[in-house]
Structure formats: C-alpha cells, structure tokens
C-alpha cells in the first residue's frame, strides 16, 4: 500500500470520528464534567484546608483524570459495533492497524486533550502550587494518550458484551498503574523543585510503546469481538 493511500485512510477515519463526536457533544463534554465534579468532591470529603489540598492535589487530579478517561473509553468502539460500521472497517483490504490508530487518536483528541487543557483550572481549585501547573498539563497530555491506547484494548475486548462498562474498568485499571505513578510523580517532583523531565520522558517512552504495540492487540480484540 502506498503512503498517500494510507495517509488518506487515516485522515478519513480521524475526520469522521472527530466530526461524529463533536456533533454528539456528550462524548467530549461528559468526561470533562465528570472531571470537574469529582475534583470538587474532594475538598468536601477531606476538608477545605489549602495546604492539605495542595499536598494531595497531584494525586487527586491524576486519579480523577484517569477515571474520566476510563469512562470515556467505553464508547470508543461501542457506537461502531452497534451500527455495524465496525464490520466495514474489518471488511476492507486496507489494513486495520491504521484505522484503529486513527480512531484511538481521534478519541484522545476529543477526550484526553480537553481534560489536559482543563486541568490547570482544577489545579487552582485544589490549590495546586503554581510550579505544578505546567508539568500537570504536560504529563496529562502524554499520559492520557497512553491511557487511551490501553483503554482501547479493553474497549475492543468488551465491545461485544452487553455489560461492558464495569468489566472494562476491571481489566484496564491494573494496566493504568505505571502511567499513574509517573504522571503524578512528575507533578510532585516539580512542586518540590526537583527535575520532572525524567518522568515525562518515561511517559513518552510509554506513549511510543503503546503507539507501536497497542493497535496490534486492539485489532485482534476487535476481530474476536465481532466473531461471536
């Protein structure tokens, strides 16, 4: 397959998925609303003292962002499975890999990226020290993309099941742990005045690894889910 043809395929899938989720609205807005609401619950649960919140903010923001991304992931292939457009993706001589890559990327663009961009505001609400803001955003940008790829594997495995939602979190959450560790640690390191680039570099490594290998698992999982 020639390069421009591959690129055309990727662009077509990206365009279609982004347009579809922007038109539906809830797909990109619900995770954001969830992110804001759950972050607002924490001061109510642990008290309003700014220093205490500031101490916990990196962890809270990262865990809640992770959960928001997880919730959004369930719908990644479900719509296509229900309206049988997923069958069309499988029934073409063009390879599935770039299609899956484009779909996951589109999903990240409408869920993970807005989450990352919104995070500084929630950092303010939780009294996150100013030095942590930029690392928080950067680590979320890198981290949520990895989360999207890992989550897509789980979404592809559970898309054919009637009760996929909770099951998806069971199988995906343990795999999220390394991302959480390095993401929140980058923010903490920045607040303490230490170097946070190593952690970001690690997230970058995870991203490259996920970019290369996750679509393989996703393709296999999709074929299994359709073949029932």
């Amino acid at each position: 397959m020639s390069e421009p043809k591959l690129l055309k395929l990727v662009i077509a899938v990206l365009h279609r998925d982004i347009v579809a989720s922007l038109r539906r609205g809830s797909e990109w807005s619900n995770p954001l609303v969830f992110f804001v609401m759950v972050c607002a619950l924490f001061p109510l649960g642990i008290g309003p003292q700014p220093d205490r919140l500031a101490d916990l903010a990196p962890g809270i923001l990262w865990v809640v962002a992770l959960l928001a991304s997880l919730l959004a992931t369930d719908s990644l292939f479900r719509g296509d499975f229900d309206d049988a457009t997923l069958e069309q993706m499988l029934l073409t001589h063009q390879s599935l890999y770039p299609q899956v890559l484009a779909k996951t990327l589109a999903h990240w663009l409408v869920t993970g990226l807005p989450l990352s961009l919104l995070s500084p505001m929630l950092g303010l609400l939780l009294h996150l020290p100013g030095e942590g803001t930029v690392p928080l955003m950067l680590s979320l940008v890198l981290g949520t993309s990895v989360l999207s790829f890992i989550g897509a594997i789980g979404a592809a495995l559970t898309v054919g099941l009637r009760k996929g939602g909770l099951l998806l979190s069971l199988i995906v959450l343990p795999l999220y742990i390394p991302v959480l560790i390095f993401g929140s640690s980058a923010v903490k390191a920045a607040i303490e005045g230490a170097a946070y680039l190593p952690q970001l570099a690690m997230l970058g490594v995870f991203f490259l690894g996920a970019l290369a290998f996750a679509p393989l698992a996703i393709c296999g999982a999709l074929r299994i889910s359709v073949d029932q």
Partner: protein, 249 residues
C-alpha cells in the same frame, strides 16, 4: 485453516488426558511430601530469626505462593499465545484452568503477607513494593476471570482472555518496575527491612522444599482442572463417552 487444523488435533486433548492420568499420582504424592515436609521442617526445626523471631516462618508458605502465582500468570499468557497463534484447543483449556488456581495462590500470598506484616512491622498492610506488585497481579487475575465469565461463547472467551493475558504479561515487568521505582521514592527509613538480608542459609533449605512442593502442587492442580475442561468440551466425542460410561455399552 482455523477449524480444519484444529480438527486434526482432536487427538491431542485425548493424548493429553491419557498421559496426564499417569502423571497425576506421582505429582500428588511428591508435592504433598515436599509441602508437608518443608512446612514441618520450617515450623519446628529451623532456628528463629534473630531480628523477627518466629514470624519469619510464614515465609515458607508466603514466598512459594507468590512465586508460583507469578509463574502461573506467565504460563497462562504463554498458553494464550499458543492458542492464538496455532489455534490449539488444549492451550485454551490450560489457560482457563490456570486462572482460578493462580488467583487463589495470589490471594494466599497476599493474606499470608498481611499476617506476616502484623508482628514484623506492627501493621496488617504496608504499601511495600513487593506486596503492592502482588496485589496488582491479583487484580490482573480477577480481570481475566471476569472477562472469561462475561462471554457466552466459549471460543470467543478463550481468545479474548488470551489477548488480555498477553497484554498483562507484557505489562507486568513495566508495572513491577514502576512500583519498585515508586516505592524507592517514598520509602521511609524505618521500613528499610528486607527479607533477604537476614536469611541464614539453614533457613533456605526448607524454603527450597516448599517452593518445589508448591510448583508441583500447582502442576497437579493444573492437570486436574485441565482434565475437567477436556471432559466438558469433548463431551460429545466417542472417547470421552466410552471413558466415562465404560466401553461395554
């Protein structure tokens, strides 16, 4: 190629069933001997640890359970890969058989770890790198079991679990290494105790016995569960029906 080649291998579960039948008694006797012998040795004959006193004796069950649980996950992922690549039905059965055994051993390792922690560290649970890793391994097992139960179609369940187990196995080194790194960041000086530094060579020998015993016991259970899977899946074949009901009918 998919089904036709698997039909060629119909003989393979049958062969496995007959072969494993001869292995079962030896595995059972040897594993129980090693487990019970090692436990008695470790409980009653090894001198107490000068630092921990007698609580270290839990190690003789905790360490083998953790080690075998880890090995079991890798075996499960390998079986999954074999099932996906060569479409071997037997591998799917082995994979399904491992999940509950591995999860039980992981649970055992967590429980004994917690009980060991109470007299040693004065608390039931410590977010120590090793225990946290075992906890994550437990979650991974639960995920595989939950996914398997959610499918109605057995073949799809096996394939989906194979993919998940492989993804998990690829991630385990990354997860373990991340958790190690995370722990090294937060490690308070007071809990810098590690098991190995205080182990005296004489304490290691019973551990070897229970470790080998646990591996063999796992092998025994694996054969038992796989044989049941074979019976359930091949229930419509002549050889299974002859085997259960006698050839005279």
């Amino acid at each position: 190629m998919s089904i036709s080649s698997t039909f060629h291998k119909w003989g393979s579960p049958r062969w496995f069933y007959q072969f494993s039948g001869r292995l079962l008694p030896w595995l059972a006797i040897l594993s129980l001997l090693l487990l019970v012998g090692g436990a008695v040795w470790g409980l009653a004959f090894v001198p107490a640890d000068y630092k921990q006193g007698n609580s270290f004796r839990i190690m003789y069950i905790h360490v083998p359970a953790a080690a075998v649980a880890m090995g079991a996950y890798m075996t499960m992922a390998t079986a999954g890969a074999i099932h996906l690549i060569w479409r071997m039905k037997l591998a799917a059965m082995v994979m399904k058989a491992i999940a509950p055994i591995g999860a039980s051993l992981t649970f055992l390792s967590l429980l004994t770890g917690a009980v060991w922690g109470k007299p040693t560290w004065g608390t039931w649970w410590v977010w120590d790198a090793r225990i946290t890793s075992v906890l994550i391994l437990f979650f991974l097992y639960l995920g595989v079991i939950a996914l398997h139960q959610a499918f109605e179609n057995r073949d799809a369940a096996a394939k989906a679990c194979a993919v998940l187990a492989i993804v998990g196995a690829v991630n385990i080194p990354i997860i373990y290494w991340s958790v190690e790194w995370w722990y090294s960041l937060h490690q308070p000086a007071s809990i810098s105790f590690t098991g190995e530094s205080t182990i005296h060579p004489s304490m290691l020998r019973p551990l070897m016995a229970t470790l080998c015993g646990m591996y063999l016991f796992f092998g025994w259970l694996l054969l038992l569960y796989t044989r049941i899977e074979i019976l359930e899946r091949e229930k419509n074949t002549r050889w299974v029906q002859d085997l259960i009901c006698g050839e005279s009918r």
